[in-house]
Symmetry: none
Subunit: 207 residues, 4 copies
C-alpha cells in the first residue's frame, strides 16, 4: 500500500532504499536550483526521473518528512566525514583544527547538499522539528572546548558562545562556497584555523 511509515532506512527493501535516495538527491537539486519555496514535488519528481509526483508521496509520508530525510541524510554524511577526522586528532587544539578543516573540506565537496540543508534548516517549520542538528554540532564543540580548558590548552572563554561562533562562521563559508565565483576553499580553511586558534589558545605570557 505504502512504504512510507517510520523514518529510518532500516527494514526497507533494496529497491526502496534506492528510490528514496534518488528522491532525496533530486530534492537537493531542486532546492539548490529553485530555492526551498519553489522546490515542489513536481520539480523534484522531474529531477528524479519520475513520471508522477504520486511516487514521492508513496515513498515519503509527506513533504515535511521528505525534507526531514534530506536533512538527516546530509547531516549524516557530514558527521561521518568530519567525525572521523576529529577523533583522529589527539589534542583539543588539534581537534578544533580538524573540525574546521574537515568541515570546509566537506563544504567544498558537497556544497549543493549544504546549501539545501541550510535552506531546510531556515524554512522548515513543523511540530516535528528537524533540528537538534546544528545543536548537536554545537554541543560537540562545547564539549571539545571544555575538555581543552580543563587541560589548560584553551583560555577561559564561554564555550557556548565560541561554539556558536565557530559553527556559524563555517556556515558563512559554506554559503560563500556555493555562490561565489570560485573562492579558494583552502585559504578559508587556513585562515579560520588561525583565527580560532588565536581566539582560543591560552595566553602564552600567562603560562
Amino acid at each position: 500500500m505504502r512504504a512510507n511509515s517510520g523514518s529510518d532506512e532500516q527494514g526497507r527493501s533494496f529497491t526502496e532504499r534506492g528510490r528514496r535516495a534518488q528522491i532525496v538527491a533530486a530534492t537537493v537539486e531542486a532546492i539548490v536550483d529553485l530555492g526551498y519555496p519553489k522546490a515542489s514535488f513536481g520539480q523534484i519528481a522531474q529531477r528524479a526521473g519520475l513520471s508522477s509526483t504520486g511516487m514521492i508521496s508513496y515513498h515519503f509520508e509527506n513533504k515535511a518528512e521528505l525534507m526531514r530525510q534530506v536533512a538527516v541524510s546530509v547531516y549524516g554524511t557530514a558527521e561521518e566525514l568530519v567525525g572521523t577526522r576529529v577523533v583522529a586528532a589527539d589534542t583539543a587544539r588539534g581537534q578544533l583544527r580538524a573540525f574546521i578543516e574537515a568541515s570546509v573540506d566537506f563544504y567544498r565537496t558537497h556544497h549543493r547538499e549544504l546549501r539545501a540543508l541550510t535552506e531546510i534548516l531556515i524554512n522548515h517549520r513543523d511540530d516535528q522539528p528537524v533540528m537538534p542538528l546544528h545543536q548537536r554540532d554545537i554541543g560537540a564543540l562545547e564539549e571539545l572546548f571544555r575538555a581543552g580548558q580543563r587541560t589548560g590548552e584553551f583560555r577561559d572563554f564561554d564555550p557556548h558562545v565560541m561554539a556558536v561562533a565557530v559553527r556559524h562562521a563555517l556556515d558563512g563559508v559554506a554559503m560563500r562556497l556555493g555562490t561565489e565565483i570560485e573562492t579558494d576553499a583552502d585559504s578559508y580553511a587556513r585562515e579560520l584555523v588561525t583565527t580560532f586558534d588565536l581566539a582560543t589558545q591560552a595566553r602564552q605570557e600567562e603560562s
Copy 2:
C-alpha cells in the same frame, strides 16, 4: 492607476509612504510567525489590518518587490544604527569592537526584523537579485581590516575571510537570539569582541 512603479520612497504621497511602511512591517511579522514560504499576501494583509490583498498589489509591483523593500528597510535601519557607532570609534580595533557590539545590540532590539531579513536573504531568488546586502557589510569590514593592517594594529590575515567569519558569526548570534530561551545578548557580545580581538591583533611578542 498604480502607485508601485519605481522602488524608492521619494516622490510618494504621505499616506502612501505610511501604507507601504505598514505593509513592510506586517510582512516582517508574517515571515517571523509563519516562515517565508507561508507568508502569503493574505497573511500579510491580515497583519496590516487591510481587508484586501489587492491593496498590497496596488502598493508594490509584485511580491518580489515587496520582499526587496523589506530587506532594504531592515538593512537601512541596521546600517544607520551600526554605522554611527562604528565611525565614532577612532582606532580600527575600536571600530571592530563597535561593529560587533552595535550589531549584537541591533539584534537584541530588532530580532524579528533580523529573522525576517535572514529568511528573505536565503529564499529570495529573482532576476533582479535583492542583495548585495551582506556583501556591503563584508566590504566595509574588509576595508576596516585593511586599514588596521596598514596601521599595524592588525596582524596579517586575509581580510575577506575574516570579514566573512565576523559577519556570519554575528548571524549565528542573531539566529540564537530569536529562538533561544533568553540567551544573554551581552555575554555574546563580550565573548565575540574578545574572540575577534584576539584573532586579529598583531602578536605582541612580535611588536
Copy 3:
C-alpha cells in the same frame, strides 16, 4: 481576502449571498446527478457557471462547510413550508395529517433538494456534524404525539418510536419520488395519512 468566515448568511453583501446561493444550488445538482462522492468542486463550479473551483473555496471555508450549508438551506426551506401548515391545524390528529401531507408536497416539489440532503446526511462525517436535523423533526413529532396523548386524541404508544417511523417512512417516499417513473405522490400522501392515523388514534371501542 476571503468572505467565508462564519456560517450564517447575515452580514454578507448582496452579491455574496447571491453567489453562495448559486453555489449551493449547483451543489444540489451535482449531488443528484453524480452522487455525493463524485460531486467534486470541479463539477459544482461547472454547474454554477464558475470558471474556477477557487471561487468555491473563496465563498466557503471548505467542502464540509459547503455541504453543511446545503443541508441547512434545504432543511430551512422544508421547515418553513411544513411548519406553517402544521401550526395551521388545531388538533393533534390534524397536525399529524398536515405534517405528512406537507412533507410529501415538499418532496414532490423539491425532490432534487431532498435527494441531495439525504446523501449529505448519510455521507457527511465531520467533527462539526451536520445533523441535529432529522433529530429536530423527530423531536417536533414526539412533542406532537405527546400532546395528542395528553388530550386523549392518540392512543398510548412510544412517541419516539412512532416519530422515527413517520420520519423515515416519509424518507422512503422521498427516495421513491426521486427515482421512480412517476409515482403518484398524492396516493402516497393519502395512504400514509390513513396508515398513521390508524396507527395512532385512540381505540374507539375503548372510548
Copy 4:
C-alpha cells in the same frame, strides 16, 4: 491471469472464496468506520490484513463490482434470516409481524453490515446498477399484503405504499440502532409491530 470475471461465487477455488469473503468483510468495516467516500482500497486492504491493494483488484474486477458483492452478501444473509421466519408464520398478519421482528433482530445483530449496505445503496451509481434489492423486499411485502387483503385479514390499502412505509420505517430503525446510544431494539420491534398491525388490519367493527 485474473480470477475476477463473473460475479457469483461458484466455480471459484476454496482459497479464493475465502479471500473474497475476507475482503467483503473488510469493506463493511471500512465503510462503517470511514464512510463510503473514504473507504478506499488502501483502507480495505489494511482491514483485511492484506499488504497490497493489488490483491483486491485481482479478486474483484473493479470497485463497483466489489461494492455490488458487499450488497449481495449482506442482503443474502438478511434474506435468509428474515425469510425463514416469515414463511414459518401462517397468517398474513403473522407474517407481517415476523417480517418486522426478524428485521429488527437482524439489525440488532448485524448493524454494521446494515449500515454499510445503506451507504452502498445510497451512493452506488453505475451503469450496471446494483440493486433491485430493497425492491425485492418491497415486492415481497406487496405480495404479502395482497394475499392478506384477499383473505380479508387486511383492510383495503395500497400495498405498494404500505410496503414502502414498512420497509423504510425499518431502515429508520436500522440507522438509529447504529448510532444511538443504546436504543432498545425490542421496544422498536414491539411498537412497529403494533403500529403496522393497526394500520393494516381490517376494521373490526366492519366485520
